[in-house]
């Protein structure tokens, strides 16, 4: 097993880019006396190498419709009838999010050079460990492995908020940890239940994604299991009314933490719905869809109204996240192709635009140590480049056509309308209007108008480091807005396959007792969208 893992780590594999950051973090343990400057440069170098690894991987798997890969399977633990496989793979659903994670890591480190003033070794190590957790959760094809990575994300984020955060950092960190843990423990029970059900039918427990996908539960059990999974993911998204940890965590976290939190961690909630909760329990998801959509709409409108009432830039951006992710949830529960594509694109979009907004707020905070509207005003006159970037990111977030936010939201709304959710579409559209209201209000009060506070006259404009941090995000926002097709292309076959299975299962109806789906036409099941990469035919060889 160790030999197999070593082979995976050294080969051109998914495993390599998942574990590279945390292995590269090990030398930091012995560098606690090193200068902060050396640690910063080391961490940045590691993150750039990581980005290069993932970018090369993505490029080599992008062409055609089948840009997917998986690693050879390794038995992680075997115990009686229990078996857990270490199995990872990337498909069109996870690839965009993997790329987003890889992109944000160097930007976050670069953007934190000034904001993080103490214990840089620990900060860098936490960020790198966090990256392994996020990437692992995105590529895991075994549910217990997914759960392990999911939990691994918690600890570094807890430390990032709790050590480098604002005044109420400990409260926020503990709240973040407990909320997430509460949801995920129930999910663990759900996972165990599914694996046991599989064992009852076949004699061997299995946590493999593709094995569990064949399980068909009666509706009653589906509802419980869906609830167990959905709670974990809804807390992460976060959906109203499980959102209360988010404003605390976002406001107290250091800039880098907020960017990663908004950019990737929240996406794991929506990713979880798309990857696990909906395909596993299609009937339950459909039956509960009105409730989920209702909560998503509440999130959209409530998030927007609360954001409107904020006088703190970071809080405003935090609440806008709740509204934006409400759109994603609406798209996911419209159950059609265009809505799902829009939802997936919107996950990436939100990571880019909200990430940029958090970075910008952080840059302002580095200069003035405040984020309150009334301290600012007229910033466009004193720091025009900053103002330009802020306007750009805000407009992307508002959903201005020709920028990325528009494409995603528009596709979701069209999809929802086509899916027969007309009233929901109307209400959600009002959320778009509200987004314009609160975001433009922020612009108006901070960068337009006369300079009211003399301290703002002498501010320094963006440094080269800060421009370099923001530029990749801005370029992508424009690029996705102008030419979204290129970005939608890789996810299309994977989403279509999941949707086809979903429709087939809905047509078949839920069984009277737990059963296994007949081995379906290999062209239709999602398993077929995974093309064997480095291993011959995946699981069959190792079982």
């Amino acid at each position: 097993m160790m030999q197999q893992l070593l082979d995976l780590l050294l080969g051109d594999t998914i495993t390599r880019f998942v574990f590279f950051p945390s292995i590269a973090a090990l030398p930091l343990l012995f560098l606690s006396r090193a200068s902060a400057r050396a640690v910063k440069l080391y961490a940045l170098a590691v993150s750039i190498v990581e980005f290069a690894l993932i970018a090369l991987f993505a490029v080599s798997h992008w062409g055609g419709g089948t840009m997917v890969a998986r690693d050879a399977t390794v038995t992680w633990l075997e115990f009686g009838s229990l078996r857990v496989l270490y199995e990872v793979g990337v498909d069109g659903i996870s690839l965009p999010l993997v790329l987003l994670t890889a992109l944000l890591l160097p930007l976050v480190l670069l953007g934190s050079f000034k904001g993080i003033t103490k214990h840089w070794t620990g900060f860098a190590a936490s960020m790198l460990l966090l990256t392994t957790g996020m990437l692992g959760a995105l590529v895991a094809l075994d549910l217990l492995v997914f759960y392990v990575f999911w939990e691994v994300m918690l600890i570094p984020m807890y430390l990032i908020i709790g050590i480098w955060g604002g005044d109420r950092r400990v409260y926020a960190a503990v709240k973040f940890f407990l909320f997430t843990m509460a949801g995920s423990l129930l999910m663990l029970l759900g996972i165990l239940w599914m694996a046991w059900s599989y064992g009852e039918l076949t004699g061997v427990w299995s946590f493999r994604y593709e094995d569990l996908l064949q399980l068909q539960f009666p509706l009653g059990q589906q509802l419980w299991l869906f609830a167990a999974f959905a709670l974990a993911f809804a807390i992460k998204v976060p959906m109203f009314p499980f959102h209360t940890w988010l404003p605390d965590a976002h406001v107290e976290a250091p800039t880098g933490g907020s960017v990663i939190l908004a950019g990737v961690l929240l996406k794991l909630g929506t990713y979880g719905f798309l990857r696990f909760a909906i395909p596993f329990f299609p009937q339950a998801a459909t039956q509960l869809a009105p409730w989920v959509i209702g909560l998503a709409l509440v999130g959209i409108v409530y998030g927007a109204l609360v954001a409107w009432a904020q006088v703190d830039m970071k809080k405003l951006v935090a609440y806008s996240s709740i509204a934006h992710l409400g759109f994603v949830m609406l798209g996911l529960f419209a159950f059609n192709e265009i809505a799902w594509q829009g939802a997936l694109l919107q996950m990436v979009n939100h990571g880019l635009s909200t990430g940029a907004l958090f970075l910008l707020v952080g840059m302002l905070y580095d200069r003035r140590h405040t984020k309150k509207f009334d301290e600012f005003g007229g910033l466009a006159k004193s720091i025009p480049w900053f103002a330009l970037m802020l306007v750009f990111a805000t407009l992307a977030s508002v959903g201005l056509p020709a920028l990325n936010g528009f494409v995603g939201e528009f596709m979701i709304l069209i999809g929802a309308w086509q899916g027969g959710l007309r009233w929901a579409t109307v209400i959600a559209t009002s959320g778009v209007v509200l987004a314009a209201v609160y975001l433009l209000k922020m612009l108006q009060e901070t960068i337009w108008g006369p300079i009211t506070n003399d301290e703002n006259r002498t501010l320094k404009d963006l440094s080269l480091r800060e421009v370099v941090t923001l530029l990749p995000l801005c370029i992508l926002m424009l690029w996705i807005g102008v030419a979204p097709g290129r970005f939608l292309e890789p996810s299309r076959p994977a989403l279509a396959a999941v949707l086809a299975t979903y429709r087939a299962q809905m047509a078949a109806g839920s069984p009277g007792s737990v059963s296994l789906a007949a081995p379906a036409d290999p062209g239709a099941v999602p398993a077929a969208t995974f093309v064997a990469g480095s291993s011959p035919a995946g699981s069959a060889g190792t079982r």
Partner: protein
């Protein structure tokens, strides 16, 4: 079995590990009397004895010895190894502490080894009188060790409390054994099993007998409602000894408890043991974690958390059977590493045994003692059951067992209790990493043996969490030999 040519004599070889431990302990006492200048290596000698016992244990052939009084199986071997691991942790962490407190005498390693001898016998005993004698051997040694810090009143207080309660409970065990013998006519577990299967004796009296036995070993485990001694004893006794006390006797008592429960439930007329065990497990998990939440002293907190952990350990016994051993064994190993490691660190991070071991005193230690703090954090995360640590793998196996046997409610309670547990384990990490240092620790130095023990325990915890495969295969091989 090789007994065909064996003369009807005592199978001394089967007791080799115990003989080695007793011999080394006696040797240390003699050295203490005649060569007191060697005191600084006594713990080292004892450690060598433990290593020798572990090696001998691994070689031991399976079988019944002493006319069926003790047995040797791969399973007892595996549990014994976990006890020896705890002994090694107790010895390593004691060296620096005893030197610091000017208590470096031969009695500590000697008592520890005798105590371990009692535990190994307890694990192997398959006859009630043998079990009782082994229990007394380990208990008497434990009382002495609890009082080892003789200049500290709290240490004596802890020992007296432990002794009074322990003596009472010993009588429970004896009375229970007498009742079971009276009704079944046998003291050997196999004989009792046959009698129960045949339906001999009054079911009510057998139930009462087993109930008293279970109470006795529940006391050693610290299950609610037999837990009241644990926080006081943990708080008062010398910390390196608590590193041992909090894990090794649990392994020994858990084996006997599991044996008894599996035995009595195999009988057709068994009472409702599932319900009884479930009540004990639920009460221990919930009360242990809830009380731990309120503690401000880290030793008391770990005492209550230990009570909760024994509750988790009981979950597989709610559906007793051969399959219960797997999760119990894995859990005990993980618990030995993570809880032992935590107490090793406590004994290093707090200078004086008499002072309150306030959790708040850990403030900011991460930046003064980065390695010790990281080890502590790993142990805490593992105790909280957060991956990728041994604690998670162990809890996962416990919950998987519960679901497999339809104990969903127990698993749910366990999960709720874990969530409560996370709160106070995180508080330790918060103190270590997120607070500024408050007091100067007055020239405290970390000793290298203690640090070694802590690093090994933390590294073991992480390794079992990241790569459980090899360890679990070893456990599996121990179980398939049953």
């Amino acid at each position: 079995m090789n007994s065909i040519f064996a003369l009807p004599q005592v199978d001394w070889l089967s007791l080799l590990p115990e003989i080695v431990l007793t011999g080394v302990a006696s040797l240390i006492l003699l050295l203490e009397a005649f060569a007191p200048r060697l005191r600084s290596v006594f713990n080292g000698i004892a450690l060598a004895g433990v290593a020798a016992a572990a090696a001998l244990l691994a070689q031991q052939p399976a079988g019944l010895y002493f006319h069926g009084l003790i047995e040797s199986t791969a399973l007892t071997g595996a549990f014994s190894q976990s006890i020896l691991l705890a002994t090694a942790i107790g010895l390593l962490s004691a060296q620096g502490y005893l030197k610091r407190e000017r208590l470096l005498f031969g009695e500590y390693p000697a008592l520890l080894l005798w105590c371990t001898t009692g535990m190994l016998l307890l694990v192997r005993g398959v006859e009630l009188v043998t079990i009782f004698v082994a229990l007394e051997l380990l208990s008497v040694a434990l009382y002495g060790l609890a009082a080892f810090h003789r200049r500290e009143a709290v240490s004596s207080e802890a020992a007296i409390k432990y002794f009074l309660m322990g003596a009472l409970v010993s009588s429970f065990v004896l009375y229970g054994a007498a009742l079971v013998y009276g009704e079944t006519g046998s003291t050997s577990l196999a004989g009792i099993g046959d009698a129960l299967a045949a339906g001999t004796g009054s079911a009510a009296l057998v139930f009462l007998g087993f109930l008293l036995l279970v109470c006795g070993f529940g006391f050693k485990l610290g299950l609610v409602p037999f837990h009241a001694w644990a926080p006081d004893v943990y708080q008062g006794a010398p910390s390196p000894f608590v590193a041992y006390l909090s894990v090794a006797p649990k392994a020994a008592a858990a084996v006997v408890l599991a044996r008894l429960v599996i035995l009595v439930t195999s009988a057709p007329t068994a009472g409702d043991w599932t319900k009884l065990v479930s009540v004990l497990a639920v009460a221990s998990m919930l009360l242990g974690n809830l009380f731990a939440l309120a503690q401000r002293d880290i030793k008391r907190m770990l005492a209550y958390s230990g009570i909760a952990h024994m509750g988790y350990l009981l979950i597989p016994l709610a559906s007793p059977g051969a399959s219960s051993w797997r999760p119990i064994l894995v859990y005990l190993f993980s618990y030995t590493l993570m809880n032992g490691g935590a107490f090793v660190l406590v004994s290093m991070l707090y200078a004086k045994p008499g002072e309150q071991h306030a959790i708040a005193n850990l403030s900011g230690w991460a930046y003064r003692f980065p390695v010790a703090a990281a080890c502590m954090a790993v142990c805490m995360l593992s105790l909280g059951g957060i991956p990728p640590t041994a604690g998670f793998v162990a809890k996962y196996l416990i919950f998987a067992h519960a679901i497999q046997h339809g104990n969903l409610a127990l698993a749910l309670v366990g999960i709720f209790a874990s969530l409560v547990g996370v709160v106070f384990y995180l508080r330790v990490i918060y103190m270590l990493y997120m607070r500024d240092e408050i007091a100067s620790p007055g020239g405290l130095k970390l000793d290298w043996t203690g640090q070694l023990a802590a690093i090994l325990a933390a590294a073991g915890t992480l390794t079992l969490g990241l790569f459980p495969g090899p360890f679990l295969s070893w456990v599996e091989s121990a179980l398939t030999s049953l």
